[in-house]
């Protein structure tokens, strides 16, 4: 900590935040299990998310085994395949990506980066994790009930999701899925309120909104979006649960099943699609915005350069967040909507590309003439930019109604959203873990294992998803257990499917090396010191590494933004946010 606070040119204004030490746990259980410390809660969130993420990884392997080598594995039935697809999608989007970005990184980084001792409501924060864990356990329980988990697809479209023809539809699978989602939303709301209020009310002296690191801007905006978007999913889940359990017909039209007229009637399946995608599209940015923020910080630190266009980056985050609420129906072009709606939603979809492109340009311009260190976090950050651009470009295809209609429900769509919403944010998660692991543990992750992890993941992900675009373009539909060799395919895809599956198995396997590195480095990793990356943001300037309970001895004062790198005349090539240094003879400007 470099508070040169004796400078007589500076008068410290009174603190706006009361300095209250959060409750200190005295028992082992209070400290490590029912912990109210945001840092421990972050690790709990991340550990649970990674654990359930591994289940999703195995499910993706099973799917690829079926698609790459159809008919080879007897235990993969059509019903099981749909269950794998459904659970993989839902786990990845909700229980892994959302949870790890907001519950994991949000909890760890918000208090440290804004200069707070903890979240403003630690008890509610603790509850948030335990409700999330309960949601995960309910989801996992669905694997063990008669009929297994739901196989309705991750979008859970009614009426098929609650009918007997769908795996888990007439049994408990769909019920447990809906209950789990409802629990997840309740848990997230508890955490999300904490993240938002902590950013709004617990920033330390001098930490204005325009001095927040972009990581916090990304997490804060995504949290606000999630708080406003998740009610749509909540309402949809409650209504579908009523349809399934209590015989209501919110989403159920008059139906005949196996020759028998069901008691349902009068409901609207399209209403569910609107509700689902009103949550579903903001969800893309709920995952992407924290990734945008984190990658901005990784690039600035590892290129030793201030973020290009900080203001523009902040505005872009806010604008993307706002626009993402008026593009939802581009997921519904083939639902029979009025053509004028299609025109409207295509337009808003293309408009959102503008602030997104601004961010990409700014990342590239931040790198331009920077002192680029090809560390593992930087490699993953670069991997993210390339992947996000690739995924974004195919998004322009799908955002246009006339191009989307023939591509809809093909593997092209699967490839697109895996690039932009799967691979790209996961690259950021990996980069962020390599970046902040030294602060969390005091040790560096092993570099050699990190290099292998990055290159196999990066090249492997492209080996999986690049050819998948082509598979979609030649006409292979998604959600098919087995398609054989239909006449409508313009080229054979068997070999390519086998290649994709082999690549997917390798990419998955290398993640085991990453997990091994995490545990191995806890004991054997090189000692990191307090600030191994020579970073400027506050979290690297805590008196202890890992930060102790309450984070700080005395709450820090913030004198500058988070990106003062390579400042001419400065004593080092970076100036910490709590460093009060000014060039000789220069007055402070406020």
């Amino acid at each position: 900590m470099v508070d040169r606070g004796s400078d007589d040119r500076m008068q410290l204004p009174p603190r706006e935040v009361e300095d209250v030490m959060p409750p200190h746990a005295h028992s082992w259980i209070g400290k490590y299990v029912f912990s109210q410390d945001a840092k421990y809660i972050a690790i709990q969130y991340s550990g649970t998310a990674v654990a359930i993420g591994l289940v999703a990884l195995v499910l993706s392997w099973l799917m690829r085994l079926q698609l790459g080598f159809p008919g080879t594995f007897d235990f993969i039935t059509a019903e099981a395949y749909y269950q794998f697809v459904t659970m993989h999608g839902m786990i990845m989007v909700i229980y892994l990506l959302t949870a790890i970005f907001l519950g994991g990184f949000g909890n760890y980084l918000i208090p440290l980066m804004v200069g707070a001792r903890d979240m403003v409501f630690p008890f509610v924060n603790m509850l948030s994790y335990w409700v999330y864990l309960l949601a995960v356990l309910v989801l996992v329980a669905s694997f063990f009930v008669p009929g297994g988990p739901t196989g309705a697809g991750w979008t859970l479209y009614p009426p098929q999701a609650v009918l007997s023809g769908t795996p888990g539809g007439a049994q408990s699978g769909i019920i447990l899925m809906l209950v789990s989602l409802i629990l997840f939303i309740i848990g997230f709301t508890m955490g999300g309120l904490n993240y938002a209020v902590t950013v709004l009310q617990a920033r330390t002296r001098g930490m204005t909104m325009m001095r927040l690191p972009l990581t916090i801007w990304g997490i804060f905006t995504a949290t606000v979006m999630a708080l406003l978007a998740f009610p749509a999913l909540f309402v949809a889940c409650v209504m579908m649960l009523f349809d399934r359990l209590l015989g209501t017909s919110f989403f159920m039209p008059t139906l005949v099943e196996l020759g028998e007229k069901l008691s349902y009637g009068g409901g609207s399946p399209i209403a569910f699609q609107h509700l689902f995608w009103f949550f579903g599209h903001p969800e893309v940015y709920i995952v992407a915005l924290p990734a945008f923020g984190i990658v901005s910080d990784l690039i600035a630190v590892h290129a030793r350069k201030n973020v290009f266009g900080y203001r523009m980056m902040v505005w872009a985050i806010v604008i993307i967040g706002a626009l993402s609420f008026i593009v939802w129906a581009h997921h519904m072009y083939v639902s029979g909507m009025h053509p004028w709606f299609g025109f409207f939603f295509a337009t808003t979809t293309l408009i959102i590309a503008i602030p997104t492109a601004i961010k990409v340009y700014n990342w590239v311009l931040t790198l331009w003439k920077g002192d680029i260190h090809l560390t593992i976090p930087m490699l993953f950050a670069l991997g993210f930019i390339v992947t996000f651009v690739n995924g974004g470009l195919t998004g322009l295809f799908l955002g246009n109604v006339v191009v989307d209609v023939p591509l809809s429900d093909t593997m092209f769509v699967v490839a697109h959203f895996h690039m932009v919403m799967g691979v790209a944010p996961i690259m950021v998660i990996f980069g962020a873990i390599y970046h902040w692991y030294p602060k969390m543990t005091g040790r560096m992750l092993n570099e050699a294992m990190g290099q292998i992890h990055f290159w196999v993941t990066f090249i492997g992900a492209y080996a999986v998803f690049f050819p998948m675009h082509y598979v979609g373009l030649v006409g292979v539909p998604r959600r098919y257990f087995e398609i054989g060799e239909p006449e409508f395919l313009t080229a054979p895809v068997d070999g390519l499917n086998a290649f994709i599956s082999a690549a997917a198995l390798i990419v998955g396997a290398v993640q085991v090396l990453f997990l091994f590195n995490i545990f191995w480095s806890l004991r054997h990793g090189r000692k990191a010191g307090g600030n191994p990356w020579r970073a400027a943001s506050l979290e690297w300037h805590t008196p202890d590494t890992p930060p102790k309970h309450g984070n700080w001895d005395e709450l820090p004062n913030v004198y500058r933004w988070a990106y003062d790198y390579s400042v001419p005349g400065a004593p080092e090539d970076y100036l910490a946010q709590n460093d009060s240094w000014v060039p000789d003879g220069e007055e402070r400007r406020l």
């Binding site: 709004l200 409650v238 017909s249």
Partner: protein, 232 residues
């Protein structure tokens, strides 16, 4: 989705107003030293902000329900549930509860106990009477053949009033906790942060109820039809 978009427009306006005070056009790379204000005043308790943000979430929830209701009426028209007169009385009770809680806030702010206790009891009684009244409406409608699993209109009525009632119930629990925590305190001003947050919650639940009540009466669809006629 008109209702939720209208609600989010309102949220966006509030957020925009707040953002406009955050010096978004400043140049942080040129500024060193401690800014005079981090953008939040010392007088705003985190609990109050917590409730305000939570109410935005709850508002989103009810707006979403409202949207689904309006959308389904348009897509698959069905006869609305004829709301009994008791619903008007219930609405008046919730309005009274909201007013009494505001009296509690005023009394706590002034530090006077004269009207505080009576207002608090009156607000609690009115709220409980509101909930009891809603249950009575449910019983009456069920007896008239409007069952939960009947038409989607009936299903919506029970779902909307049920979720709203649950939120009111949560408010009563929170208010009880606030009162119990400060029961022995000598200075009634200690109650102020808690009851102010509760009053805000009650006012918001009243506003949400008025909106939902209008939708359940079919006025929302009539209003939208009028708007469309004007546009066309």
């Amino acid at each position: 989705m008109t209702v939720i978009l209208a609600f989010l427009t309102l949220v966006a306006l509030v957020a925009g107003l707040w953002l406009s005070q955050q010096r978004l056009a400043s140049k942080p790379w040129l500024e060193t030293g401690i800014a005079p204000l981090a953008g939040h005043g010392p007088g705003r308790a985190p609990g109050f902000i917590f409730i305000a943000v939570f109410l935005a979430v709850v508002g989103g929830l009810f707006a979403m329900l409202g949207s689904a209701f309006v959308m389904q009426i348009e897509e698959t028209p069905w006869e609305l549930v004829p709301l009994p007169g008791r619903v008007w009385l219930n609405t008046a009770l919730l309005l009274l509860a909201s007013l009494f809680l505001q009296f509690v806030v005023i009394s706590a702010r002034a530090g006077t106990t004269r009207w505080l206790r009576a207002s608090l009891i009156a607000a609690s009684v009115a709220t409980v009477a509101f909930l009891a009244g809603q249950v009575q409406v449910w019983i009456a409608l069920t007896a008239s053949g409007y069952r939960l699993e009947g038409t989607p209109a009936a299903s919506f009525f029970y779902l909307i009033t049920g979720l709203h009632g649950l939120h009111v119930l949560g408010g009563i629990i929170a208010l009880t906790a606030v009162c119990l925590r400060h029961a022995g305190a000598g200075d009634v001003r200690a109650l102020l942060p808690g009851v102010r947050a509760c009053a805000l919650y009650w006012h918001a639940l009243l506003a949400f109820w008025l909106m939902l009540f209008a939708l359940l009466q079919g006025w929302g669809n009539a209003f939208l039809a009028l708007c469309r006629a004007v546009v066309n």
